[in-house]
């Protein structure tokens, strides 16, 4: 996949965006972390080099799901058996919203369509947002240094996305409720096989139990994400 440069230019006020999304909308309807996509971005990349740990389809779909989950957390959309319903049509103006507006205006209601469409720019969106916040640093990589990677500026912060899942899961302790959404995304994209690679046997089954604890609306999104990632494995077109 081609990772273009951070699109900070099109999103000049990320801090403001964060504050806005907190202020506008109803009270959060579920305990979804405000920056779930950032957490998933950290989890999906090497904590030092920023090398992606997931194949592009799973990574971009996972980020798209994280962004949609953030919108759900902000009370703007909800998921209902494969469909997206808009609960608050007056959201803040940011780059993600222009995508959402297009989906709404053109009458798309299926979660799979939303995931696929948001996935086309989710990587740039999240990487750009994190660069603006100083969480990652764009770097050249690969042959001829033409590729682009986003290395975490603080590896410890990046590693925490893994540790908060792998530590309790490895000792079969229930996850913190706030970590269930991230765990759900990690599970649905297949990233758990990396996160739990040194964990004892049976950890994956325990993770699946933990994922069941997510609220039903989020489960709905996660099921569609898992199906989308699976279909991408079955039918790779890129």
């Amino acid at each position: 996949m081609n990772f273009p440069p951070p699109s900070g230019a099109t999103d000049p006020t990320p801090r403001q965006h964060v504050a806005t999304s907190r202020a506008i909308g109803r009270a959060p309807v579920s305990s979804i972390p405000e920056h779930l996509a950032n957490e998933f971005f950290f989890a999906g990349h090497d904590d030092r080099t920023g090398k992606p740990l997931l194949h592009p389809a799973a990574l971009t779909l996972g980020l798209a799901a994280a962004l949609l989950a953030e919108l759900h957390g902000a009370g703007r959309i909800t998921f209902d058996d494969g469909d997206v319903r808009v609960t608050n049509p007056r959201p803040p103006q940011d780059q993600l919203q222009t995508l959402v507006d297009r989906l709404i205006t053109e009458g798309h209601t299926q979660t799979r369509t939303w995931l696929a469409f948001v996935a086309t720019s989710a990587y740039d969106h999240v990487a750009g947002r994190m660069s603006q916040l100083g969480l990652v640093q764009p770097q050249s990589s690969g042959l001829l240094r033409r590729g682009k990677r986003y290395a975490p500026t603080d590896p410890n912060k990046a590693f925490w996305a893994w540790a908060r899942l792998s530590m309790p899961l490895s000792s079969f302790k229930p996850l913190d409720r706030a970590d269930v959404p991230l765990a759900s995304l990690v599970w649905a994209t297949g990233l758990h096989t990396r996160v739990l690679q040194f964990a004892p046997g049976g950890t994956t089954a325990f993770l699946e139990q933990q994922v069941q604890r997510a609220d039903p609306v989020l489960r709905n999104l996660v099921d569609d994400l898992r199906a989308a990632v699976g279909d991408a494995v079955l039918c790779r077109t890129s």
Binding site: G82, R102, R194, D223, A232, V233, R236
Partner: protein, 493 residues
């Protein structure tokens, strides 16, 4: 769902998706036209001993096109549309679906193993040297196994260039053969429709179907094509037309070059080199070398395509937990379903080794028996699938036309059943064994056993794991409680 003409979302999503030409190239690579003509046709003449092979290809192309009408229409309505067993599950129930899955695994495995044998044998005769065929087969096996693990797909453009080169060289060969007829005049004897009702026609039809296996892969892209309503249908019919015409033309040209009465004898004396032996006296040696090289690349592409098909089946069945859950494991960084890929690489390795140890004629025992048995398995799958399409549309006709939902599927069911019955009656001819040989029952019987295993396993799942039983046929969509296709976004016209 209807979308306005200014549907930018659909446009953006369609940009990364495949058009009809791209889909056609992908499935034609699996069909490996030069291999079918270079090796399949010659060996079919030799083993079956009939001259009606060209007309069999034409008949099969038409039958498969009629089958494809309902098949493609149904592919738009279901999830996991890339696998025959999904159609059977929706149309005829879950036990039949699992039975179809087992038959499919066996049929495609037979096909893949046959191609490993074919590529080994052709490489051995082309390169020569001290190594036996199985050494070359293992070399290709290693290449495919590694590519499957890394999920390195051969670039679509390379496949397209190779395919176009194959077609070009076949057209040149055909021109050479038709301009050098045996008795100084072109004979149309091999194209006489009377051949399809003569003895051995069932075997000839199965041998012909074998050449088309892979065309059904278009529906894998039902959800990933630019325009699901048209792309898959166009690609399917285009693939059937290109291969049907090419196979029939080439097989007929061979009978012209040898004279219709001599084709069987010529095929028996030259084996897979028939087409090259026929053109060699009339063209520069480079044309033969290029043809032999392309036959090898086409075989490698085909074996890779069957590897992918089997890997997909294993992964989807693992997702549903019909096969052990480990089959759904993927490599995180490449997305390769590595367990499914490894499992069938292991199986193919065993088959190559066993055949190398016991067989004195691997061209017949591995390549031809494997390919025709695989073709017969795919014929069984298509027959059952056509019943499933009829049954499905009896309940969910919705906005499909009468032709797509009823007439074509019913015709396909009847004709495919007839071909299947003729094939079973002719299986001794198909294998080239004596009429009283037990082998004529062993090969088709293996599919019966596979189907029985599938039905029993489905029953066990229903009794012990009803939640798994409920999700059979959903592939990657096991968690979404959805069986209908998520009506993929269509591209604005």
């Amino acid at each position: 769902m209807s979308h306005a003409a200014s549907d930018t979302v659909s446009g953006a999503l369609a940009r990364n998706r495949l058009g009809a030409v791209a889909v056609m190239f992908i499935v034609l690579a699996a069909a490996a036209p030069l291999t079918v003509v270079g090796a399949g046709v010659a060996i079919a003449f030799a083993v079956l001993g009939v001259i009606g092979i060209p007309v069999a290809y034409l008949v099969v192309a038409v039958v498969l096109a009629v089958f494809a009408v309902g098949f493609v229409a149904m592919s738009r309505r279901i999830v996991n549309a890339g696998a025959f067993y999904t159609y059977v599950t929706h149309g005829l129930g879950r036990p039949a679906g699992v039975a179809a899955a087992m038959v499919a695994l066996l049929a495609y495995s037979a096909m893949q193993c046959a191609l490993y044998g074919g590529v080994g044998l052709i490489l051995a005769s082309f390169v020569g040297g001290p190594f036996p065929w199985w050494a070359y087969a293992l070399l290709v096996w290693m290449l495919i196994a590694v590519l499957g693990q890394l999920r390195v797909d051969v670039n679509g453009r390379i496949l397209a260039v190779l395919l176009l080169a194959e077609i070009t060289i076949l057209i040149i060969y055909n021109a050479v053969m038709l301009t050098h007829p045996a008795d100084g005049q072109i004979s149309f004897a091999a194209l006489s429709p009377s051949h399809i009702v003569t003895a051995g026609s069932g075997a000839a039809l199965v041998a012909a179907i074998t050449g088309f296996v892979g065309f059904e892969g278009t529906v894998v892209f039902a959800e990933e094509s630019k325009d699901p309503r048209r792309t898959v249908a166009r690609a399917t019919y285009a693939a059937l037309t290109v291969t049907g015409v090419l196979y029939a033309l080439s097989a007929w040209a061979m009978t012209v070059a040898t004279g219709p009465d001599n084709i069987v004898e010529a095929a028996r004396s030259t084996d897979t080199d028939l087409i090259f032996a026929l053109v060699a006296p009339h063209v520069a040696p480079i044309f033969v070398t290029v043809g032999l090289t392309l036959i090898i690349t086409s075989l490698i592409a085909a074996v890779g395509a069957f590897h992918n098909t089997l890997t997909r089946y294993g992964y989807a069945l693992g997702r549903e937990r019909v096969l052990p859950a480990m089959f759904q494991r993927t490599n995180t960084t490449t997305g390769a379903p590595y367990v499914s890929s490894l499992a069938q690489s292991g199986l193919a390795l065993c088959v190559i080794i066993v055949v190398a140890m016991v067989s004195d004629d691997p061209m017949l025992h591995l390549f031809f028996w494997g390919a025709t048995t695989g073709g017969a398995g795919v014929l069984i799958l298509m027959t059952v699938t056509s019943y499933a399409v009829v049954s499905f549309f009896a309940r969910h006709r919705r906005e499909e036309t009468l032709w797509r939902a009823r007439i074509a599927p019913v015709i396909a069911s009847i004709v495919l059943t007839g071909i299947l019955a003729a094939a079973l009656a002719d299986f001794d001819v198909l294998l080239g064994v004596a009429p009283d040989s037990p082998l004529r029952w062993v090969f088709p019987g293996a599919y019966g056993v596979a189907a029985l295993v599938g039905v029993v396993w489905a029953m066990v799942l229903r009794a012990t794991k009803p939640d798994i039983y409920a999700t059979i046929g959903r592939g990657a969509n096991v968690d979404t409680h959805r069986t209908a296709s998520p009506s993929p976004v269509t591209q604005p016209v």
